[in-house]
Amino acid sequence: MAGEILVVADQTDGTVKRPSLEAMTAGATLAAAHGCGTLAVVAGPGAADAAAALGTHGAAAVVTLDVDTADRAAWAEAVAGVVSERKPAAVILAHTAVGKELGPRLAGLLEAPLASDCIALEAEGGALIARRPVFAGKALVSVTGTGEVLIATVRPNAFAAKENAAAGTVEAGTVAPATRGLGAVLKEILASAEKKIELTEAGIVVSGGRGLKGPEHFGMIEDLASALGAAVGASRAVVDAGWRPHSEQVGQTGKTVSPQLYIAVAISGAIQHLAGMRTSKYIVAINKDAEAPIFKLADYGIVGDAFEVVPRLTEAVIALKAQG
Protein backbone atom coordinates (compact mmCIF):
# COMPACT_ATOMS: atom_id res chain seq x y z
CA MET A 1 0.00 0.00 0.00
CA ALA A 2 1.43 3.32 -1.06
CA GLY A 3 1.86 6.06 1.55
CA GLU A 4 -0.90 8.55 2.10
CA ILE A 5 -1.45 11.93 0.52
CA LEU A 6 -0.92 14.52 3.23
CA VAL A 7 -2.43 17.99 2.88
CA VAL A 8 -1.13 20.90 4.94
CA ALA A 9 -4.02 23.33 5.46
CA ASP A 10 -4.06 26.97 6.52
CA GLN A 11 -6.87 28.32 8.70
CA THR A 12 -7.79 31.32 10.84
CA ASP A 13 -10.09 31.01 13.85
CA GLY A 14 -11.43 27.66 12.73
CA THR A 15 -12.13 28.64 9.11
CA VAL A 16 -10.03 26.86 6.49
CA LYS A 17 -8.76 29.16 3.73
CA ARG A 18 -10.41 28.46 0.41
CA PRO A 19 -7.13 27.63 -1.42
CA SER A 20 -6.46 25.05 1.30
CA LEU A 21 -9.87 23.45 0.69
CA GLU A 22 -8.93 23.31 -2.99
CA ALA A 23 -5.65 21.64 -2.03
CA MET A 24 -7.58 19.19 0.15
CA THR A 25 -9.91 18.28 -2.71
CA ALA A 26 -6.93 17.98 -5.08
CA GLY A 27 -5.24 15.68 -2.54
CA ALA A 28 -8.34 13.52 -2.11
CA THR A 29 -8.79 13.20 -5.87
CA LEU A 30 -5.15 12.23 -6.28
CA ALA A 31 -5.42 9.71 -3.43
CA ALA A 32 -8.41 8.08 -5.11
CA ALA A 33 -6.44 7.75 -8.36
CA HIS A 34 -3.33 6.53 -6.56
CA GLY A 35 -5.24 4.08 -4.35
CA CYS A 36 -4.11 5.46 -1.02
CA GLY A 37 -5.47 7.24 2.04
CA THR A 38 -5.60 10.93 2.90
CA LEU A 39 -4.42 12.88 5.90
CA ALA A 40 -4.63 16.59 6.70
CA VAL A 41 -2.47 18.61 9.05
CA VAL A 42 -3.76 21.89 10.44
CA ALA A 43 -2.18 24.16 13.03
CA GLY A 44 -2.84 27.07 15.35
CA PRO A 45 -5.78 28.28 17.46
CA GLY A 46 -9.04 26.96 16.02
CA ALA A 47 -7.35 23.98 14.34
CA ALA A 48 -9.83 21.52 15.86
CA ASP A 49 -12.78 23.45 14.38
CA ALA A 50 -11.05 23.61 11.01
CA ALA A 51 -10.61 19.84 11.06
CA ALA A 52 -14.31 19.23 10.38
CA ALA A 53 -14.24 21.15 7.08
CA LEU A 54 -11.11 19.26 6.02
CA GLY A 55 -12.90 16.01 6.82
CA THR A 56 -15.85 16.90 4.60
CA HIS A 57 -13.42 17.83 1.82
CA GLY A 58 -11.82 14.41 1.81
CA ALA A 59 -9.43 14.03 4.75
CA ALA A 60 -9.76 10.55 6.30
CA ALA A 61 -7.84 11.77 9.34
CA VAL A 62 -6.79 15.20 10.55
CA VAL A 63 -3.80 15.89 12.78
CA THR A 64 -3.96 19.18 14.70
CA LEU A 65 -0.75 20.91 15.76
CA ASP A 66 -0.49 23.36 18.61
CA VAL A 67 2.11 25.66 17.11
CA ASP A 68 2.38 29.42 16.54
CA THR A 69 1.64 29.71 12.82
CA ALA A 70 3.06 33.24 12.71
CA ASP A 71 6.42 31.51 13.16
CA ARG A 72 6.74 29.78 9.80
CA ALA A 73 10.04 28.11 10.70
CA ALA A 74 8.45 26.44 13.74
CA TRP A 75 5.29 25.55 11.81
CA ALA A 76 7.32 23.93 9.05
CA GLU A 77 9.30 21.94 11.59
CA ALA A 78 6.14 20.68 13.29
CA VAL A 79 4.71 19.56 9.94
CA ALA A 80 8.04 17.96 9.00
CA GLY A 81 7.73 15.96 12.22
CA VAL A 82 4.37 14.56 11.08
CA VAL A 83 5.80 13.79 7.63
CA SER A 84 8.75 11.90 9.10
CA GLU A 85 6.38 9.87 11.25
CA ARG A 86 3.67 9.09 8.67
CA LYS A 87 5.87 8.81 5.57
CA PRO A 88 3.28 10.05 3.05
CA ALA A 89 3.79 9.64 -0.70
CA ALA A 90 3.02 13.31 -1.27
CA VAL A 91 2.59 16.51 0.72
CA ILE A 92 0.26 19.10 -0.81
CA LEU A 93 -0.16 22.76 0.09
CA ALA A 94 -1.87 25.74 -1.51
CA HIS A 95 0.51 28.07 -3.38
CA THR A 96 -0.50 31.09 -1.29
CA ALA A 97 1.70 33.54 0.62
CA VAL A 98 1.82 30.91 3.39
CA GLY A 99 2.34 27.90 1.13
CA LYS A 100 5.06 29.68 -0.87
CA GLU A 101 7.01 29.83 2.33
CA LEU A 102 6.04 26.58 4.06
CA GLY A 103 6.64 24.48 0.93
CA PRO A 104 10.33 25.32 0.49
CA ARG A 105 10.88 25.19 4.26
CA LEU A 106 9.49 21.65 4.31
CA ALA A 107 11.62 20.75 1.30
CA GLY A 108 14.64 22.17 3.11
CA LEU A 109 13.95 20.28 6.32
CA LEU A 110 13.10 16.98 4.60
CA GLU A 111 15.62 17.39 1.76
CA ALA A 112 12.76 16.44 -0.53
CA PRO A 113 11.75 17.62 -4.02
CA LEU A 114 9.13 20.34 -4.32
CA ALA A 115 7.00 21.10 -7.37
CA SER A 116 5.79 24.72 -7.00
CA ASP A 117 2.56 26.27 -8.24
CA CYS A 118 1.10 23.14 -9.85
CA ILE A 119 -2.02 23.26 -12.00
CA ALA A 120 -2.60 19.48 -12.22
CA LEU A 121 -1.69 16.39 -10.19
CA GLU A 122 -1.92 12.91 -11.63
CA ALA A 123 -1.16 9.32 -10.62
CA GLU A 124 0.40 7.36 -13.44
CA GLY A 125 1.41 3.74 -12.94
CA GLY A 126 2.35 4.18 -9.28
CA ALA A 127 4.16 7.48 -9.89
CA LEU A 128 2.86 10.90 -8.94
CA ILE A 129 3.12 13.48 -11.69
CA ALA A 130 2.74 17.20 -11.13
CA ARG A 131 2.19 19.65 -13.99
CA ARG A 132 3.36 23.21 -13.60
CA PRO A 133 3.92 26.27 -15.76
CA VAL A 134 7.46 27.50 -16.45
CA PHE A 135 8.75 30.53 -18.40
CA ALA A 136 5.79 32.54 -17.09
CA GLY A 137 3.26 30.09 -18.46
CA LYS A 138 4.80 29.95 -21.93
CA ALA A 139 5.50 26.24 -21.37
CA LEU A 140 4.32 23.48 -19.05
CA VAL A 141 6.41 20.73 -17.51
CA SER A 142 5.40 17.40 -16.03
CA VAL A 143 7.65 16.47 -13.12
CA THR A 144 7.99 13.48 -10.86
CA GLY A 145 9.99 13.03 -7.67
CA THR A 146 12.82 10.50 -7.55
CA GLY A 147 12.67 9.98 -3.78
CA GLU A 148 10.12 8.75 -1.28
CA VAL A 149 8.02 11.87 -0.99
CA LEU A 150 7.01 14.60 -3.40
CA ILE A 151 5.95 17.98 -2.05
CA ALA A 152 3.67 20.08 -4.26
CA THR A 153 2.04 23.48 -3.91
CA VAL A 154 -1.12 23.95 -5.97
CA ARG A 155 -2.16 27.19 -7.67
CA PRO A 156 -5.27 28.84 -6.18
CA ASN A 157 -8.35 28.48 -8.42
CA ALA A 158 -6.71 25.71 -10.48
CA PHE A 159 -8.58 23.00 -8.56
CA ALA A 160 -12.21 23.17 -7.42
CA ALA A 161 -13.03 22.66 -3.73
CA LYS A 162 -15.66 19.91 -3.46
CA GLU A 163 -17.48 18.58 -0.44
CA ASN A 164 -17.65 14.91 0.09
CA ALA A 165 -19.94 13.34 2.68
CA ALA A 166 -17.48 11.33 4.74
CA ALA A 167 -16.00 13.25 7.67
CA GLY A 168 -12.60 12.25 9.00
CA THR A 169 -11.33 11.48 12.47
CA VAL A 170 -9.39 14.11 14.38
CA GLU A 171 -6.30 13.51 16.48
CA ALA A 172 -3.93 15.93 18.20
CA GLY A 173 -0.38 15.65 16.92
CA THR A 174 2.70 16.24 19.03
CA VAL A 175 4.88 19.27 18.51
CA ALA A 176 8.52 19.16 19.45
CA PRO A 177 10.23 22.51 20.10
CA ALA A 178 11.60 23.96 16.89
CA THR A 179 15.35 23.93 16.46
CA ARG A 180 16.11 25.09 12.94
CA GLY A 181 15.67 28.12 10.73
CA LEU A 182 15.30 30.35 13.77
CA GLY A 183 16.63 33.78 14.60
CA ALA A 184 14.43 35.98 12.42
CA VAL A 185 12.24 38.18 14.61
CA LEU A 186 9.01 39.81 13.46
CA LYS A 187 9.25 43.36 14.79
CA GLU A 188 6.16 45.00 13.44
CA ILE A 189 3.06 44.40 11.35
CA LEU A 190 1.83 47.39 9.38
CA ALA A 191 -1.78 46.61 8.57
CA SER A 192 -3.49 48.53 5.81
CA ALA A 193 -6.62 50.45 6.74
CA GLU A 194 -8.99 48.18 4.84
CA LYS A 195 -8.60 44.45 4.59
CA LYS A 196 -8.01 43.77 0.93
CA ILE A 197 -8.84 40.59 -0.95
CA GLU A 198 -5.53 38.87 -1.73
CA LEU A 199 -4.91 39.23 -5.45
CA THR A 200 -3.50 35.74 -6.02
CA GLU A 201 -6.41 34.06 -4.27
CA ALA A 202 -9.30 36.15 -5.57
CA GLY A 203 -12.01 34.49 -7.66
CA ILE A 204 -12.39 37.66 -9.73
CA VAL A 205 -9.73 40.26 -10.57
CA VAL A 206 -10.31 43.67 -12.17
CA SER A 207 -7.09 45.24 -13.49
CA GLY A 208 -6.46 48.69 -14.86
CA GLY A 209 -3.79 49.87 -17.28
CA ARG A 210 -2.14 53.00 -18.59
CA GLY A 211 -5.16 53.85 -20.69
CA LEU A 212 -6.85 55.08 -17.49
CA LYS A 213 -4.56 58.12 -17.74
CA GLY A 214 -4.03 58.78 -14.03
CA PRO A 215 -4.31 57.35 -10.51
CA GLU A 216 -7.45 59.39 -9.87
CA HIS A 217 -9.34 57.22 -12.36
CA PHE A 218 -8.71 53.98 -10.51
CA GLY A 219 -11.78 54.81 -8.41
CA MET A 220 -13.93 53.31 -11.16
CA ILE A 221 -11.80 50.15 -11.17
CA GLU A 222 -12.23 49.89 -7.39
CA ASP A 223 -15.98 50.45 -7.71
CA LEU A 224 -16.33 47.66 -10.27
CA ALA A 225 -14.15 45.39 -8.14
CA SER A 226 -16.19 46.06 -5.05
CA ALA A 227 -19.46 45.39 -6.90
CA LEU A 228 -18.06 42.03 -8.03
CA GLY A 229 -16.29 41.16 -4.76
CA ALA A 230 -13.06 41.20 -6.75
CA ALA A 231 -9.44 42.15 -6.09
CA VAL A 232 -7.82 45.07 -7.92
CA GLY A 233 -4.82 44.49 -10.18
CA ALA A 234 -2.67 46.71 -12.39
CA SER A 235 -0.29 46.59 -15.32
CA ARG A 236 3.36 47.38 -14.84
CA ALA A 237 3.05 50.65 -16.73
CA VAL A 238 0.68 51.84 -14.02
CA VAL A 239 2.86 50.56 -11.16
CA ASP A 240 6.01 52.11 -12.66
CA ALA A 241 4.18 55.41 -12.94
CA GLY A 242 3.49 55.18 -9.21
CA TRP A 243 -0.31 55.11 -9.62
CA ARG A 244 -0.68 51.78 -7.83
CA PRO A 245 1.54 49.73 -5.47
CA HIS A 246 3.71 46.90 -6.79
CA SER A 247 1.68 44.44 -4.71
CA GLU A 248 -1.08 44.90 -7.31
CA GLN A 249 1.08 44.30 -10.38
CA VAL A 250 -0.01 41.36 -12.50
CA GLY A 251 2.56 39.81 -14.82
CA GLN A 252 5.96 38.30 -15.15
CA THR A 253 7.57 40.64 -12.64
CA GLY A 254 4.42 40.95 -10.57
CA LYS A 255 1.90 38.39 -9.44
CA THR A 256 0.52 35.40 -11.27
CA VAL A 257 -3.23 35.19 -10.96
CA SER A 258 -5.58 32.52 -12.16
CA PRO A 259 -9.09 33.64 -11.21
CA GLN A 260 -12.43 32.48 -12.60
CA LEU A 261 -12.81 35.90 -14.19
CA TYR A 262 -10.13 38.44 -15.14
CA ILE A 263 -11.23 41.84 -16.41
CA ALA A 264 -8.51 43.87 -18.15
CA VAL A 265 -9.41 47.52 -18.50
CA ALA A 266 -7.29 49.76 -20.74
CA ILE A 267 -4.47 47.23 -20.77
CA SER A 268 -2.83 46.51 -24.13
CA GLY A 269 -1.88 42.90 -23.37
CA ALA A 270 1.93 42.88 -23.56
CA ILE A 271 3.49 39.43 -23.35
CA GLN A 272 4.80 40.09 -19.82
CA HIS A 273 1.31 41.03 -18.65
CA LEU A 274 -0.29 38.00 -20.29
CA ALA A 275 2.27 35.85 -18.47
CA GLY A 276 0.61 36.73 -15.20
CA MET A 277 -3.03 36.11 -16.13
CA ARG A 278 -3.26 33.83 -19.16
CA THR A 279 -4.50 30.84 -17.15
CA SER A 280 -7.55 32.74 -15.91
CA LYS A 281 -10.73 30.80 -16.64
CA TYR A 282 -12.51 33.68 -18.40
CA ILE A 283 -10.89 36.88 -19.62
CA VAL A 284 -12.77 40.07 -20.41
CA ALA A 285 -11.04 42.97 -22.16
CA ILE A 286 -12.23 46.54 -22.35
CA ASN A 287 -10.06 48.61 -24.67
CA LYS A 288 -10.70 51.36 -27.16
CA ASP A 289 -8.24 49.93 -29.66
CA ALA A 290 -9.78 46.99 -31.53
CA GLU A 291 -6.26 45.89 -32.51
CA ALA A 292 -4.98 45.60 -28.92
CA PRO A 293 -3.32 42.18 -28.41
CA ILE A 294 -5.40 41.55 -25.28
CA PHE A 295 -8.41 40.85 -27.54
CA LYS A 296 -6.62 37.79 -28.98
CA LEU A 297 -6.80 36.20 -25.55
CA ALA A 298 -10.06 37.60 -24.24
CA ASP A 299 -13.15 35.37 -24.18
CA TYR A 300 -15.30 38.48 -24.27
CA GLY A 301 -14.19 41.87 -25.48
CA ILE A 302 -15.77 45.28 -25.59
CA VAL A 303 -14.18 47.80 -27.92
CA GLY A 304 -14.85 51.11 -26.27
CA ASP A 305 -13.85 53.89 -23.95
CA ALA A 306 -13.27 52.59 -20.41
CA PHE A 307 -14.61 55.85 -19.01
CA GLU A 308 -18.02 55.02 -20.51
CA VAL A 309 -18.04 51.23 -20.33
CA VAL A 310 -16.76 50.62 -16.81
CA PRO A 311 -19.27 52.76 -14.85
CA ARG A 312 -22.10 51.22 -16.91
CA LEU A 313 -20.77 47.74 -16.16
CA THR A 314 -20.58 48.53 -12.45
CA GLU A 315 -24.20 49.71 -12.48
CA ALA A 316 -25.29 46.56 -14.31
CA VAL A 317 -23.48 44.32 -11.82
CA ILE A 318 -25.00 46.14 -8.85
CA ALA A 319 -28.47 45.80 -10.42
CA LEU A 320 -27.86 42.10 -11.04
CA LYS A 321 -26.73 41.50 -7.46
CA ALA A 322 -29.76 43.39 -6.14
CA GLN A 323 -32.03 40.95 -8.03
CA GLY A 324 -30.19 38.09 -6.29
Binding site: T96, A97, K100, E101, P104, A107, G108, P113, A115, S116, P133, V134, F135, G137, K138, A139, S142, V143, T144, G145, T146, R180, G181, G183, A184, V185, K187, E188, I189, L190, S192, E194, K196, T200, I204, H246, Q249, Q252, T253, G254, T256, L261, I271, Q272, A275, Y282, I283, V284, A290, A298, D299, Y300, G301, I302, G304, E308, V309, L313, A316, L320
Partner: protein, 252 residues
Protein backbone atom coordinates in the same frame (compact mmCIF):
# COMPACT_ATOMS: atom_id res chain seq x y z
CA UNK B 1 30.49 43.15 5.40
CA UNK B 2 30.63 40.52 2.68
CA UNK B 3 27.44 39.96 0.64
CA UNK B 4 26.95 37.12 -1.80
CA UNK B 5 24.23 37.73 -4.41
CA UNK B 6 23.00 34.65 -6.27
CA UNK B 7 22.24 35.53 -9.88
CA UNK B 8 20.85 33.37 -12.63
CA UNK B 9 20.65 34.00 -16.34
CA UNK B 10 17.28 33.28 -17.90
CA UNK B 11 15.58 33.70 -21.28
CA UNK B 12 14.54 37.30 -21.88
CA UNK B 13 10.93 37.87 -20.82
CA UNK B 14 9.78 38.44 -24.39
CA UNK B 15 11.42 35.27 -25.75
CA UNK B 16 9.38 32.86 -27.78
CA UNK B 17 9.66 29.48 -26.14
CA UNK B 18 10.40 26.41 -28.27
CA UNK B 19 10.78 22.88 -26.97
CA UNK B 20 13.99 20.96 -27.71
CA UNK B 21 13.97 17.65 -29.58
CA UNK B 22 14.29 15.67 -26.33
CA UNK B 23 10.78 16.86 -25.39
CA UNK B 24 11.83 17.75 -21.86
CA UNK B 25 13.85 20.94 -22.19
CA UNK B 26 14.05 24.35 -23.80
CA UNK B 27 15.39 24.81 -27.32
CA UNK B 28 17.99 27.49 -26.61
CA UNK B 29 19.08 28.07 -30.21
CA UNK B 30 17.39 31.45 -30.62
CA UNK B 31 17.08 32.60 -27.02
CA UNK B 32 18.34 35.95 -25.81
CA UNK B 33 19.53 35.82 -22.23
CA UNK B 34 19.13 38.30 -19.42
CA UNK B 35 19.82 38.45 -15.72
CA UNK B 36 16.68 37.20 -13.98
CA UNK B 37 14.66 40.37 -13.14
CA UNK B 38 14.41 39.74 -9.39
CA UNK B 39 18.14 39.02 -9.25
CA UNK B 40 18.66 42.53 -10.63
CA UNK B 41 16.69 43.82 -7.65
CA UNK B 42 18.77 41.63 -5.30
CA UNK B 43 21.99 43.04 -6.77
CA UNK B 44 20.64 46.58 -6.54
CA UNK B 45 19.84 45.97 -2.86
CA UNK B 46 23.42 44.81 -2.21
CA UNK B 47 24.87 47.76 -4.13
CA UNK B 48 22.79 50.20 -2.08
CA UNK B 49 24.17 48.67 1.11
CA UNK B 50 27.63 49.12 -0.38
CA UNK B 51 26.87 52.74 -1.33
CA UNK B 52 26.07 53.41 2.34
CA UNK B 53 28.98 51.42 3.82
CA UNK B 54 31.98 51.40 1.51
CA UNK B 55 33.76 48.56 3.32
CA UNK B 56 31.10 46.23 1.89
CA UNK B 57 32.22 43.57 -0.57
CA UNK B 58 29.64 42.36 -3.09
CA UNK B 59 30.29 38.97 -4.66
CA UNK B 60 27.97 37.64 -7.36
CA UNK B 61 27.55 33.89 -7.68
CA UNK B 62 26.14 32.10 -10.69
CA UNK B 63 25.66 28.45 -11.47
CA UNK B 64 25.33 28.42 -15.22
CA UNK B 65 26.80 27.49 -18.58
CA UNK B 66 30.18 28.87 -19.57
CA UNK B 67 28.73 31.70 -21.67
CA UNK B 68 26.92 33.12 -18.60
CA UNK B 69 30.16 35.07 -18.15
CA UNK B 70 28.43 37.84 -20.07
CA UNK B 71 25.76 38.27 -17.38
CA UNK B 72 28.43 38.16 -14.66
CA UNK B 73 30.39 40.93 -16.43
CA UNK B 74 27.19 42.98 -16.40
CA UNK B 75 26.96 42.53 -12.62
CA UNK B 76 30.58 43.62 -12.25
CA UNK B 77 29.93 46.67 -14.44
CA UNK B 78 27.02 47.60 -12.17
CA UNK B 79 29.34 47.60 -9.17
CA UNK B 80 29.85 44.07 -7.83
CA UNK B 81 33.47 43.52 -6.73
CA UNK B 82 34.02 40.03 -8.04
CA UNK B 83 32.19 37.01 -9.41
CA UNK B 84 32.14 33.28 -8.83
CA UNK B 85 31.05 31.22 -11.79
CA UNK B 86 30.16 27.59 -11.21
CA UNK B 87 30.28 26.35 -14.77
CA UNK B 88 27.78 23.71 -15.67
CA UNK B 89 26.13 23.49 -19.06
CA UNK B 90 23.24 21.52 -17.59
CA UNK B 91 22.49 24.16 -14.94
CA UNK B 92 19.10 25.23 -16.26
CA UNK B 93 17.81 21.67 -15.92
CA UNK B 94 18.76 21.22 -12.28
CA UNK B 95 16.04 21.04 -9.67
CA UNK B 96 16.12 23.37 -6.69
CA UNK B 97 17.71 20.80 -4.35
CA UNK B 98 20.59 20.22 -6.74
CA UNK B 99 21.03 23.94 -7.45
CA UNK B 100 20.91 24.92 -3.79
CA UNK B 101 23.40 22.17 -2.89
CA UNK B 102 25.97 23.41 -5.41
CA UNK B 103 25.43 27.08 -4.50
CA UNK B 104 25.59 26.35 -0.75
CA UNK B 105 29.03 24.78 -1.07
CA UNK B 106 30.41 27.85 -2.81
CA UNK B 107 28.73 30.20 -0.33
CA UNK B 108 30.03 28.28 2.70
CA UNK B 109 33.57 28.67 1.34
CA UNK B 110 33.05 32.45 1.16
CA UNK B 111 31.55 32.71 4.67
CA UNK B 112 29.57 35.89 3.92
CA UNK B 113 27.48 37.78 6.49
CA UNK B 114 24.59 38.19 4.06
CA UNK B 115 23.26 36.18 1.12
CA UNK B 116 20.70 37.68 -1.26
CA UNK B 117 18.60 35.84 -3.83
CA UNK B 118 15.79 36.87 -6.12
CA UNK B 119 12.34 35.84 -4.90
CA UNK B 120 11.93 33.65 -7.99
CA UNK B 121 13.88 32.88 -11.15
CA UNK B 122 12.06 33.90 -14.34
CA UNK B 123 12.63 30.50 -15.99
CA UNK B 124 11.78 27.92 -13.32
CA UNK B 125 9.18 30.22 -11.72
CA UNK B 126 9.53 28.20 -8.54
CA UNK B 127 10.83 30.46 -5.75
CA UNK B 128 12.60 27.75 -3.78
CA UNK B 129 16.35 28.17 -3.96
CA UNK B 130 16.58 30.98 -1.38
CA UNK B 131 14.82 29.11 1.42
CA UNK B 132 16.56 25.83 0.55
CA UNK B 133 19.91 27.61 0.77
CA UNK B 134 18.99 29.00 4.18
CA UNK B 135 18.44 25.49 5.53
CA UNK B 136 21.64 24.19 3.99
CA UNK B 137 23.63 27.10 5.44
CA UNK B 138 21.74 27.23 8.75
CA UNK B 139 20.94 30.94 8.23
CA UNK B 140 17.66 32.59 9.24
CA UNK B 141 15.67 33.65 6.19
CA UNK B 142 13.04 36.19 5.24
CA UNK B 143 11.44 36.00 1.80
CA UNK B 144 10.19 38.63 -0.63
CA UNK B 145 11.72 41.67 1.05
CA UNK B 146 10.98 45.01 -0.64
CA UNK B 147 13.47 46.94 1.41
CA UNK B 148 16.58 45.94 3.31
CA UNK B 149 18.93 47.85 5.56
CA UNK B 150 22.02 46.60 7.36
CA UNK B 151 23.43 47.98 10.61
CA UNK B 152 25.02 46.79 13.86
CA UNK B 153 25.39 43.14 12.96
CA UNK B 154 21.82 42.70 11.78
CA UNK B 155 19.55 43.38 8.82
CA UNK B 156 16.05 44.79 8.83
CA UNK B 157 13.73 43.66 6.05
CA UNK B 158 10.34 45.00 5.05
CA UNK B 159 8.07 42.59 3.19
CA UNK B 160 4.52 42.62 1.91
CA UNK B 161 2.60 39.89 3.69
CA UNK B 162 -0.50 39.77 1.50
CA UNK B 163 -3.92 41.32 2.01
CA UNK B 164 -2.32 44.77 2.13
CA UNK B 165 -0.23 44.27 5.29
CA UNK B 166 3.53 44.73 5.57
CA UNK B 167 5.90 43.12 8.03
CA UNK B 168 9.20 44.35 9.41
CA UNK B 169 11.67 41.58 10.26
CA UNK B 170 15.02 41.74 11.96
CA UNK B 171 17.63 39.05 11.34
CA UNK B 172 20.93 38.45 13.08
CA UNK B 173 23.85 37.85 10.70
CA UNK B 174 24.70 35.70 8.90
CA UNK B 175 21.32 35.71 7.19
CA UNK B 176 19.66 35.06 3.85
CA UNK B 177 17.01 37.33 2.32
CA UNK B 178 15.12 36.91 -0.94
CA UNK B 179 14.30 40.15 -2.74
CA UNK B 180 11.28 41.34 -4.68
CA UNK B 181 10.71 44.64 -6.44
CA UNK B 182 10.78 47.59 -4.04
CA UNK B 183 11.12 51.34 -4.32
CA UNK B 184 14.42 51.34 -6.16
CA UNK B 185 14.86 50.54 -9.84
CA UNK B 186 18.06 48.68 -10.71
CA UNK B 187 20.80 51.08 -11.81
CA UNK B 188 22.37 51.18 -15.27
CA UNK B 189 26.03 50.44 -15.87
CA UNK B 190 28.16 53.54 -16.43
CA UNK B 191 30.93 53.61 -19.02
CA UNK B 192 33.42 53.75 -16.15
CA UNK B 193 31.75 50.72 -14.59
CA UNK B 194 31.94 48.79 -17.84
CA UNK B 195 35.67 49.61 -18.19
CA UNK B 196 36.36 48.68 -14.55
CA UNK B 197 34.48 45.38 -14.93
CA UNK B 198 37.03 44.16 -17.46
CA UNK B 199 39.66 44.08 -14.73
CA UNK B 200 37.52 42.55 -12.00
CA UNK B 201 38.06 38.85 -11.30
CA UNK B 202 35.68 36.06 -12.26
CA UNK B 203 36.59 32.90 -10.41
CA UNK B 204 35.37 30.09 -12.67
CA UNK B 205 35.36 26.39 -11.86
CA UNK B 206 33.63 23.34 -13.24
CA UNK B 207 31.10 21.61 -11.04
CA UNK B 208 29.36 18.30 -11.47
CA UNK B 209 25.84 17.92 -10.23
CA UNK B 210 24.55 15.13 -7.99
CA UNK B 211 21.50 13.07 -8.97
CA UNK B 212 18.26 14.94 -9.56
CA UNK B 213 15.40 14.80 -7.06
CA UNK B 214 12.74 16.08 -9.45
CA UNK B 215 12.70 14.74 -12.98
CA UNK B 216 11.08 16.53 -15.91
CA UNK B 217 9.26 13.89 -17.94
CA UNK B 218 7.68 16.26 -20.43
CA UNK B 219 7.88 19.89 -21.53
CA UNK B 220 5.09 21.14 -23.76
CA UNK B 221 3.50 24.32 -24.99
CA UNK B 222 0.18 25.20 -23.35
CA UNK B 223 -2.99 24.79 -25.36
CA UNK B 224 -3.76 27.96 -27.28
CA UNK B 225 -6.67 29.88 -25.85
CA UNK B 226 -9.72 29.96 -28.07
CA UNK B 227 -9.68 33.09 -30.19
CA UNK B 228 -11.55 35.87 -28.49
CA UNK B 229 -14.96 37.20 -29.28
CA UNK B 230 -15.89 40.88 -29.46
CA UNK B 231 -19.20 41.28 -27.70
CA UNK B 232 -19.80 44.75 -29.03
CA UNK B 233 -18.77 48.38 -29.00
CA UNK B 234 -19.08 50.97 -26.27
CA UNK B 235 -21.38 51.09 -23.27
CA UNK B 236 -24.26 49.55 -25.29
CA UNK B 237 -22.44 46.20 -25.19
CA UNK B 238 -22.50 46.02 -21.39
CA UNK B 239 -25.91 44.32 -21.20
CA UNK B 240 -24.82 41.50 -23.48
CA UNK B 241 -21.49 41.11 -21.63
CA UNK B 242 -23.26 40.76 -18.28
CA UNK B 243 -25.67 38.22 -19.77
CA UNK B 244 -22.76 36.14 -21.14
CA UNK B 245 -20.87 36.30 -17.87
CA UNK B 246 -23.93 35.14 -15.97
CA UNK B 247 -25.48 32.60 -18.35
CA UNK B 248 -22.63 31.26 -20.47
CA UNK B 249 -19.54 31.58 -18.26
CA UNK B 250 -21.51 31.44 -14.98
CA UNK B 251 -18.87 33.51 -13.20
CA UNK B 252 -21.00 36.34 -11.77
Amino acid sequence: MKIVVCVKRVPSTDSRIKIAADGTSLDTSSIEWILSPYDEFALETALRIKDAATDTEVVVLCLGPSDATKELRTCLALGADRAIHLEDDGASRHDAQVTSGLLAEAIAAEAPELVLCGKLAADSDQGQVGLLLSYRLGFPCVTEARELTAADGKVTAKRAAGGGTSEIWELPLPALVTITKGEHEPRYASLKGIMAAKKKPIDASDVSAPAETLRVTLMELPAERQAGRIVGEGAEAVGELVRLLREEAKVI
